[in-house]
Amino acid sequence: MARLYVFAIGGTGARVMKSLTMLLASGMKTQGAEGRDYEIVPILIDPHKANADLHRCGMMLNLYQKIKKPLSPETGFFHTRLKTLKEITDSADQSDNVFAFDLNDVNSTSFRDYIGYTAMGDTNKQFMDFLFSGKTIDKDKNPISLLDIDMDIGFVGNPNVGSVVLNRIRSSETLKDFASNYTAEDRVFIISSIFGGTGAAGFPIILKNIRDAIEITNLANKGNLENARIGAVTVMPYFNIEPDENSPVNAAQFIAKTKAALNYYSRNVNPAVNVMYYIADKTDKPYKNDAGSGGQKNDAHLVELIAATALFDFLKMPDSELVNAAGKPVSPVCKEFGVKSDVPAIAFQHLGDGMMEQIATPLTRFMLFRKYMREELPKSIGNTVWCNEKPEIGKSFLSTPFMQSHLQDFFNLYDDWLRELGQNLRGFAPFQNDALLDSVVTGIKPRQKSFFNRKTVDYHLFNTYLSTQAIKGGFKNEESKLLSIFYAASHTMLMEHFDYFNKLKT
């Protein structure tokens, strides 16, 4: 099976990865133009271990894996396999089996110590002082020199520091493992932001190390890496942060930093990437300015969701459009995204047609699944046909780890994600959580009843579709049955009763 290696860099990378995980859970398939089904290998890169967004993303990826584990391949929801680099490298040794790229040797180290400042000669010291002048803060938010930055709280908006530290990727085991597994069929996708520290520094470094693999010693598959098909999404400013004179992170610099970085990207990055996706938004809503050890825990944003869909667009591009020669794309492409209606609260109808076709049906299917699990499952369990068909789903199934912790915890994160998306500015609120089943999708109503179709879209109808699927049988286990029938039943209900979804045909 072909693989897509996704490098998610920094806080924005983690948040986009979180949205991507939600899309994958909703059943969006990572199928390429050549009919290849891609397995995804996420690699989260962030030295800021206490970053709440990184933590939430890692938790979500782990839950996804746990949910996926007992499922048969064709379950609809959670269709795509997610693997850690460790899993595909050494299946026997599963210690330290995490998605995050290990930057342990920068933990509890100041930048000054990391570069060996004290051992430098006077000239070098002066040069370092010049390059890394300025102030930042420590974990306790006390002002310090930039050279004394604690790197385990990230690069605090300083890509110049990040570009030095992240260069250690070049000699890392992660890069070696990645290289040894990389085949000509695989692809790479890099997610980063351009206006912060880690993402802005990390993206060019990872890209350079892949394209210049030929120059790195002890690296396998150099030819494949050099000519790897690489897509990347770079997120430009899309949120604001509260002004804080004690914080080194200043929103006023976002645009200036972006301009400078874009200038650099246009010459050095864009020509080295097969497909480059750029996205930005108005920066209306200020987030809490917390650059310290608490790390930023930003609400999910529509921009992150849209950025995540770039990966699917990239996979759909045929190999013939992603040709490289001697480590350079023959015809690099840059893409941007726009909405159909510039409104503060986006629903499906306000997105462009292509985006709407891509995400509306999967997200709604998953929403219906989640809603049923929350509102109707306690009433249905054990006394509906879909429960009683083999393999039976009885009350005891509710107390299995799969239901009680894995799926429930994932749903909790999903609820948080949807709530945050809805509350943010620009908001994305395609669903009305507490509405009846027939009006759960904002602004979209079921087809008018007719003489021949008098059915109401409610849980009774949902049960009928679920039972229809359950009767077909052939399920590997209860878990596969649950996810398969909900996927198929929610799809049928949307197609048969909602003209809107029927026209989308996805």
Binding site: N383, T384, V385, N388, Y459, H460, L461, N463, T464, S467, T468, I471
Partner: protein
């Protein structure tokens, strides 16, 4: 067939309806002294089988609704079917008796009610038996486990 249903509807003994009604339902003609009259046991029996089957098909296949999947709704259909069969049997018995009043047979309305009860019990048994067989139950979707499971 008339004989078969005669045996069935009198399975419970003579208490449901008397000998005169039984003879009349078997098709006995007092004028000619033979069984040249209408075979009413067969008529009622065939109606019972087809009507019960139709009601079951209505429940399992036509309505086939998730709203009706619970056992209480199956019991409502069972009750409705039984009551319907009672009245059909009662009406057929009384209509016939009215028509042959001149034939000097001794039939009361209690006999007709008793016959209705007999048919009702058999229709219930048929309804339950037919519900326990896999088909038509399993041709439907929402009630395919009713009344075995809710």
């Amino acid at each position: 067939m008339n004989y078969l249903f005669d045996q069935l509807f009198n399975w419970w003994g003579q208490w449901t309806h008397g000998t005169d009604l039984r003879q009349f339902l078997k098709g006995f003609n007092t004028l000619t002294g033979d069984y040249s009259g209408s075979a009413r046991y067969a008529l009622v029996g065939i109606i019972m089988i087809f009507l019960t089957s139709a009601i079951l098909c209505l429940y399992y296949l036509v309505l086939d609704s998730d709203r009706l999947r619970k056992r209480k709704y199956w019991l409502m259909f069972l009750t409705g079917s039984s009551v319907l069969h009672f009245f059909i049997a009662f009406i057929i018995a009384t209509a016939g008796v009215e028509a042959v009043k001149t034939q000097q047979i001794d039939v009361s309305y209690f006999d007709c009610i008793g016959f209705g009860v007999s048919v009702m019990i058999w229709s219930m048994l048929w309804f339950v038996t037919f519900s326990l067989t896999p088909y038509p139950r399993r041709w439907g979707i929402n009630c395919r486990h009713t009344p075995l499971k809710q």
